[in-house]
Symmetry: C2
């Protein structure tokens, strides 16, 4: 292993002190009124030997790592992967890097991850919280760690968050189905206390009540087997003679499509939550409630950066509108 060149090497080679080199390297040359000649000489030499400071030592000294922790449900879910991509690009432009981990929505794992990254002195957190995470988040807040939640928020602790307007999203989707002429509109969701799931459920229920129709809901356990989900779905549809369905997540909708294909029944009309290449291309194309991914990523980064730079101490609770993309799967065919 070739030895890395150090700031002291530079100083020695140029016959000046470490301080001077450090000042010049940290753009404090004029502030400290170091001669332009020397400044240029140092810069040229640094360039020549390709010196790069050890960021670790720098971080230890400054307390800043320029790293943001992204603690996310599942990086392989396209919805999260897309957000991750956007966040990464925006953070990168500001000189920040992203360290990520998937939580699988497991509380213990999430807590552990947060502790871990906290010990690593990350500068800020972007988190999709699990139920029960409030105490952990509160602790971060106590330590004045910049953080912002997304996709869902926690009722028990006040924090910055960026979520979609899930109530309205689900409400409009449901209403659209009724307006198309469907009568028995079901809702398939996760058995979860997560805010986004609750809001979607309430959105659906409110729409059903407004239309004075019957509610049909199926809640799937988060740790169900794929096969189990498919069976439950098939039963649910048949038993209640459902003629239209709203799915609370993209993967539930995909399970639904798989069930229909495997068990050879005709999928009723449907709308999915969160867009996916599959929905766009499927025959018939699947209507979706789509979250504004780009804006979510934008807000997340800007809120976090503001906080990290100490610009704003006020709480930011951002709720962004969803977009109902009507495609073929929600068309009424009498």
């Amino acid at each position: 292993m070739k030895k890395r060149i150090l700031i002291s090497d530079i100083a020695k080679a140029l016959g000046i002190s470490v301080t001077t080199v450090s000042f010049i390297l940290n753009d404090k040359a004029k502030e400290k009124r170091i001669s332009e000649a020397l400044t240029n000489r140092v810069l040229a030499y640094v360039q020549e030997v390709g010196y790069k400071p050890n960021e670790l030592a720098k971080s230890l000294r400054t307390g800043k790592t320029k790293i943001i922790a992204l603690i996310i449900e599942d990086i392989s879910n396209p919805f999260f992967a897309n957000i991750a991509r956007l966040i990464e690009t925006k953070a990168y432009a500001q000189g920040y890097r992203i360290i990520y981990c998937s939580t699988d929505n497991r509380l213990d794992k999430t807590q552990e991850l947060i502790e871990l990254f906290y010990d690593r002195q990350v500068d800020g957190f972007i988190i999709t919280p699990t139920v029960g995470l409030a105490p952990t988040i509160q602790r971060l807040k106590d330590h004045a760690v910049p953080l912002v939640l997304f996709d869902r928020f926690l009722a028990d602790v006040q924090t910055n968050f960026v979520v979609a307007d899930n109530f309205t999203g689900a409400n409009e989707a449901t209403t659209h189905l009724f307006e198309q002429g469907f009568e028995r509109v079901g809702f398939v969701s996760l058995r979860s206390e997560q805010s986004q799931m609750m809001d979607r459920l309430t959105g659906y229920s409110t729409a059903v009540e407004k239309q004075a129709k019957e509610r049909y809901t199926l809640e799937v356990a988060t740790d169900s087997w794929e096969q189990d989900i498919q069976d439950k779905l098939a039963d649910f549809i048949k038993e209640h003679r459902i003629d239209a369905l709203l799915f609370a997540t993209n993967y539930l909708a995909i399970s639904g499509l798989k069930a229909a294909k495997a068990q050879r029944f005709k999928m009723p009309a449907m709308i999915a939550y969160d867009d996916h290449t599959l929905f766009e291309m499927y025959e018939p194309s699947i209507s979706v409630v789509s979250q504004p991914v780009e804006e979510i990523a934008d807000k997340l980064i800007s809120i976090l950066l503001n906080q990290m730079q100490g610009k704003s101490k006020s709480l930011r609770e951002v709720v962004l509108p969803c977009q109902l993309k009507i495609r073929e799967s929600s068309r009424f065919i009498s």
Copy 2:
């Protein structure tokens, strides 16, 4: 911000020295023959006050960060997102965390990212290299930085790598199409010198020659607009009266399906490279050459860990077989 508790605080509170605490915390208690009573007292106190060492300081001192840099083409591509997920899980189990960045296959960005993470003292690299990256990789090698490439390798520099057997994958897919009875089998690929693209092309060409048929290839520029790709594809199919197609990547195949949908022509028989939920669910379901993602991730991590732990200095060049999943889209219908 509540002050973090330090190892010196522990020592002071217990009236012992930092060394002792450090030894105990680093499992060197018996090695240094520290009394069990003291060991337990320290452990209990550490537990009680919730002391956590500053990992940054630890890293600076030990030179180990327990962080692996994942430098990948595009985290939002399901193929890479899936691998990322698997790598993450396996690394996590070994106490390593992942820091990632997407390169978009741009040389300058990739170089910059590698430098950056190198300066951050990551313990190892997993990289999908771009063309022209050899000098940078060589430099890492000179500095004895553990690294392993994947998805493609570089001819100009010897390194560990894990790739799929792209030649055979493409060859078998092409042969399968001919055996089905198709006559005019085209190949759609990226205009790129990347090894995996070249191998897929050679695999196709060799199969065509063996069958003594005509070659029809379309190479799309990597920075093309989606619309442009679709137009080119439509023209290509019509002009050569293609009756079956092999796509070199999943997104090219998706562009093909989109083109067919938008421009209302019938997609010829086809096989895509890399599986995708869409291909499984599409009507007709799309045959694919699927890479063994799980094994790739396994090999990557085990090779990298071995290297990081200094266990093996020998070069590991792993080529894993692809699996041809025959579905409906490659069926011959006369």
